[in-house]
Amino acid sequence: MRPRTKRKIRMTFLGWAAALVVAFPIFWMTLAAFKTEIVAVSTPPQLFFSPTLQNFAEVQSRGDYLIFAGNSIVISASATLIAILLALPAAYAMAFHPTNRTKDLLLWMLSTKMMPAVGVLIPIYLIYKGLHLLDTVYGLIIIYILMNLPIVAWMIYSFFREVPKEILEAARMDGARPLQQVTLLLVPLALPGIASTALLSIILCWNEAFWSINLTATQARPLTAFIASFSSPEGLFWAKLSAASLLAIAPIVIFGFMTQRQLVRGLTFGAVK
C-alpha cells in the first residue's frame, strides 16, 4: 500500500476516534431519546434496544413544551429580525461612507458585547420589574437585540465590504440612486452573508442561558430555562427529557453546521478570517 494511503487511513482512524469521542454525549442522549424510560436508566446501559418514538409523541403533546418551544422561536426570530433591520443602514453607512471615526465606532460597538451580563443584572431586573417586562417575550427580545446588535452589524458590515465598490459605482453611472443601489445590487449580492448573520444571531439567542433563566418564569419561558428546571429529574422521565432536549438542540446544531465558516468571522469579531 502506498505510504500516502497508509497515512490517510491512519488519519481516518485518529480523526474519527476524536470525532466520536467528542460527539459521544450527544450521541448517547440521542439514543436515550429513543428508549423507553426503563431502558434509559437500566444498568448496564444498553447500546442496542428496540427504539420507540413514544417519547417524542409525548413531548409534542405536552402543551407547555410547545409553548416553551414557541417562546424560543418567537424570541430568537424577532430579536434577529429587528437586529438586522437596525444594523443594515448602519452597516451600509460604515461600509460605503466611512469616516475617520468609523473604525472607532465599530470597536466601541463590539466592546459593548464584552460587558458581563452579571454587571447589569440588577438594574435590568429592577427596571423590568417596574416596567412589567419580567416574564414577557418582549423583555427578552429587547435584551437580545442589544446583545447581538454589535455582532450583527459587524458581520453585515464585513459582508458589504466584500462587494466590490466598483459595482456600485457602475450602478451609479447607470443612474441608480443610493437606495436603488442598495436594493438592486447590494442586498442581493450580500444576501448569503446576511443569511449567515441571521443564523448566527438565532443560534446565540436560542442558546442564551443567563437572561432567559433570570428574567422569565412561566409565560415567556424559553427552552433553555425549561430544561434548566429539570436539574434534578427523577430517573423515570429521563428518556422524555432526552427527547425534549434533542428537539431543542437539533435545529440549532444544524444551523451551526450550515454557517460554520461565516461563524468564525462573527465570533472572533473578524480577527480570524
Binding site: 476524536a18 467528542v22 461612507h97 433570570n214 433553555t224 465570533l267
Partner: protein
C-alpha cells in the same frame, strides 16, 4: 493609492448625497443607552445599603466593597473563576490545536467527522449540563459510573467530590469545539506554498508544526484565548443546573456569586458591588481583545 481607496466612496466625503448620521443612529443610540445607563445604576446601587428585604436603604459609600473584598466567599469565587477560566482555556488551546491540525489532514469522511467534533459548541448549555450530569456523571445511572464499576474502580461522585472540575469538564466540552473551529479555519488560511517550501527544505511533521504552523496560529490562538475568557468569566447555566455553586462555595464563580447575592439573598447593594468587580475584570481582557481586533480592521 490608499488615499484614493479611502475617499473614493460613492458620495463626497462631506456626505453630499447621503447623510450617514440618521443611518447609524437606530443601531448606535440603543447601544449607548444599553452600555451606560444600567452600568451607572449598578455603580450607584453598589454604594448603597439596599436589600429588598430591608425597608431601609441608605448610602454607605464603599462599605459594600470593603465587605466584599474581605468576604471569603468573594475570594473563593474569584479563585474558582480563575481556575475555571484557566483550566478550560488550557484544554481549549491544547485540544483545539491538536484537533485543528488533525482535521487539516485529508481523510475519509472528514467533512462528516468535522461536523461531529464541532457539534458540542451549538448545544444549549443547559442541555449540555444535563447530559453530563445525568447520563454520564451520575454516580448511579451514569455511563461513566457503569464503566468504572465494571472495571472495579469504584464510583466517583463527580459533583460531590470534584464539583469545579466537573463543571469545567462540561464547559470545556463545549468550548474545545469552538477553539477547534477557529483554529482549523486559521490553519486553512496558511499559505500552502509556504508549507511546500518547508517540505523542500526538509521539514518533518513535528518541525513543520512548531516552525510553520504554530507561528501562523499565534494570532488566532490569542484571539481564541481572549474571546473565550470573556465568555468563560460569565459561565452560569452549567453551574446552576448541576451544583448550584456547591457544595458550599466549591463551584461558585463570580457570576454565580452575584446571582446568588442579588436574586437569592436579595442583597442589591452587595450584588451590585460584585457586579462591578466582574465588569472590571472583563474590561481588562476586553482592552487587549479590542486592540487585536483593531489591528485586524486595518
Amino acid at each position: 493609492m490608499a488615499n484614493v481607496a479611502q475617499s473614493g466612496t460613492l458620495a463626497s466625503r462631506r456626505g453630499r448625497e447621503v447623510k450617514t448620521a440618521p443611518l447609524i443612529a437606530p443601531a448606535v443610540v440603543p447601544l449607548i443607552f444599553w452600555a451606560f445607563v444600567p452600568l451607572l445604576v449598578t455603580l450607584w446601587f453598589s454604594l448603597l445599603h439596599y436589600n429588598l428585604l430591608d425597608p431601609v436603604t441608605r448610602f454607605v459609600g464603599f462599605d459594600n466593597y470593603s465587605y466584599l473584598l474581605t468576604d471569603p466567599s468573594l475570594l473563593d469565587a474569584l479563585w474558582n473563576t480563575l481556575a475555571l477560566v484557566v483550566g478550560v482555556l488550557a484544554a481549549s488551546i491544547v485540544f483545539g490545536c491538536l484537533f485543528a491540525v488533525l482535521f487539516d489532514q485529508d481523510f475519509y469522511g472528514r467533512s462528516v467527522a468535522r461536523l461531529l467534533i464541532i457539534a458540542p459548541f451549538f448545544v444549549m448549555p443547559t442541555v449540555s449540563a444535563l447530559i453530563w450530569k445525568n447520563l454520564l456523571m451520575h454516580p448511579v445511572n451514569g455511563l461513566i459510573a457503569y464503566i468504572t464499576r465494571s472495571l472495579h474502580l469504584g464510583v466517583i461522585d463527580w459533583f460531590g467530590a470534584w464539583p469545579l472540575t466537573s463543571v469545567g469538564v462540561i464547559v470545556a466540552w463545549q468550548w474545545v469545539p469552538f477553539a477547534t473551529l477557529i483554529l482549523l479555519t486559521a490553519i486553512q488560511s496558511l499559505d500552502r506554498e509556504q508549507v511546500e517550501a518547508a517540505r523542500m527544505d526538509g521539514a518533518k511533521p513535528v518541525s513543520m508544526f512548531f516552525f510553520i504552523v504554530l507561528p501562523h496560529l499565534a494570532r488566532p490562538i490569542t484571539v481564541v484565548i481572549m474571546i473565550e475568557t470573556i465568555f468563560l468569566l460569565s459561565v452560569f447555566a452549567e453551574i446552576l443546573v448541576t451544583t448550584n455553586g456547591g457544595p458550599g462555595d466549591a463551584s461558585t464563580n463570580l457570576t454565580y456569586l452575584v446571582y446568588k447575592t442579588a436574586l437569592l439573598d436579595f442583597d442589591v447593594g452587595g450584588g451590585s458591588a460584585g457586579g462591578i468587580v466582574a465588569v472590571i475584570l472583563a474590561n481588562v481582557v476586553a482592552i487587549f481583545l479590542l486592540r487585536t481586533v483593531a489591528r485586524s480592521l486595518d
